[in-house]
């Protein structure tokens, strides 16, 4: 093999291999710090304030194109949509008219049971800017942040159900981890039977899973799952998912239950961030040294990806 090193009289600083080793070790240290301890959120926020304007700048060619296309959208398509919306409105008429009566009845019953108001917080409507570019996680970025009062941990829904949870809030942008992310879990309740469980995301293109349900439990395909509100993150009663299939294998301790989200998790453009619930039950004090205690429905905050 030929000598590839330069002669010693051309001084060129440390050798490439030495430099690579240094930076590779530094990367691994950073990866470790980010995965395990999340020490670097401050730096991330700092750098993001520089990147955010660039990000919104590259957004506008697409937006401009979208505007032109929608401007020239044929009148027929619009009138068809109009007709459809009208018929929908008509179909929902009875429900809407009955709603006030149901609401009053509901309030009365709640007062009777002395239950906290289910959801009294403020909500912020947001628009999806772009979906996350990391192929290992399921995230979207929305166009409002701490300026609009959004805080990490708040639930995000669309018109059909739960979409996910805010995991990072920057000044004018927030990162939403979707239901389908592998590190996302939400405590749910079977609407039909009331059985509580936790619904886990499993990553790209794979169905949601309802874990730790014994094979004997009463779960059927088609059951709707709603949030149980036990975690204090998601308000109770939001629609989450529908059970697709239940496999009961007697050899296994738990049934294998796959579900699909009701919300347009990766399609919805308009989302709603639910602010902190007014009446939240205080978390019990954690005993000392309970760092590894289970925190249901929090995105396991140690994995940033």
């Amino acid at each position: 093999m030929l000598h590839t090193d330069p002669p010693p009289f051309f001084h060129r600083g440390p050798s490439p291999l030495a430099r690579l080793s240094f930076f590779a070790l530094l990367s691994i240290a950073l990866l470790f710090a980010d995965t395990r301890f999340r020490y670097l959120e401050g730096i991330r926020h700092g750098v993001n304030t520089v990147i955010a304007p660039l990000q919104s700048a590259v957004q506008w060619p697409g937006e401009a194109a979208g505007f032109v296309v929608s401007y020239f959208a044929s009148k027929r398509a619009l009138s068809a949509e109009n007709t459809e919306l009208k018929s929908q409105l008509l179909a929902q008429g009875p429900a809407v008219q009955g709603a006030s009566r149901v609401e009053a009845e509901n309030a009365k019953l709640k007062a009777l049971l002395d239950v906290h108001a289910r959801y009294g917080g403020a909500a912020v409507a947001v628009e999806v800017l772009f979906s996350g570019r990391d192929p290992f996680s399921q995230k979207v970025f929305v166009g409002k942040g701490t300026d609009a009062g959004i805080k990490p941990g708040e639930a995000v829904i669309d018109e059909a159900g739960v979409v996910g949870q805010v995991t990072r809030a920057f000044a004018s942008m927030s990162e939403v981890t979707l239901l389908t992310d592998k590190d996302h879990a939400v405590p749910v309740k079977n609407e039909r039977t009331g059985v509580r469980s936790v619904l886990y995301g499993t990553g790209t293109g794979r169905p949601l899973e309802l874990r730790f349900i014994p094979p004997s439990a009463d779960v059927q395909a088609g059951d709707r799952l709603i949030t149980s509100g036990l975690d204090g993150t998601y308000p109770a009663g939001l629609a989450v998912a529908k059970v697709d299939a239940v496999e009961r294998d007697t050899g296994q301790i738990f049934a294998h239950i796959t579900c699909s989200p009701l919300a347009g998790v990766d399609r919805s453009e308009q989302l709603l961030v639910l602010g902190e619930t007014a009446a939240r039950i205080a978390r019990p004090d954690e005993p000392a040294g309970a760092d590894n205690a289970r925190k249901p429905a929090r995105v396991k905050a140690r994995r940033g990806g």
């Binding site: 950073l30 800017l129 979906s131 290992f136 994995r303 990806g305």
Partner: protein
């Protein structure tokens, strides 16, 4: 008549640092462009390609350190783990250090084949780091973007070497 791409024997003028910095910025912005569905699968890492090009052409300006630093910015922009892109770009810059001695003797399409191997290796490295960190395996389409990157390489090379080519390159032989 000057050829479309610089021939191996053609001596390029040194690149201006400002031009290098600008192309890096454009590479970064290209990575920030929103893409959805099929486009997101195909979208190559433009910044990695620009870094690789300058590591080969101007090793005194672009090296492991700069590449690593650019990777950190990409990590924040993509909200990936800190150090993931940085590691990949540093490895890319290091391999370019040895690669550059011979790669410029090849035609652009032969270069692209070698770039494909480098980019796939970096993608595999990122995959390893993330899976060790507990991430799920992505779909197979994960490896499509590096291949698209290699296909973009000839075009990118022609664009980036244009300002460095002498005004009257009359290599008529």
């Amino acid at each position: 008549m000057p050829s479309f791409a610089a021939r191996p024997e053609e001596i390029l003028k040194p690149a201006r640092p400002l031009f290098v910095a600008l192309t890096m910025l454009f590479g970064f912005l290209a990575n920030l462009l929103p893409a959805a569905g099929f486009a997101a699968v195909l979208k190559p890492d433009f910044l990695a390609l620009v870094i690789l090009y300058w590591c080969i052409q101007e090793p005194r300006m672009m090296g492991v350190g700069f590449a690593w630093f650019a990777g950190l910015w990409m990590d924040v922009a993509d909200a990936t783990l800190f150090g993931q892109h940085a590691l990949a770009y540093a490895v890319l810059a290091y391999s370019a250090e040895y690669f550059r001695r011979r790669v410029l003797r090849f035609t652009l399409w032969h270069q692209a084949a070698q770039v494909a191997v480098l980019l796939l290796f970096c993608a595999a490295l990122v995959l390893l780091v993330r899976v060790v960190g507990g991430a799920p395996l992505p779909r197979w389409t994960y490896f499509v973007a590096p291949l698209v990157g290699a296909l973009v390489w000839p075009l990118l090379s022609v664009m980036l070497q244009r300002p460095q080519r002498p005004a009257h390159s009359s290599v008529n032989r």
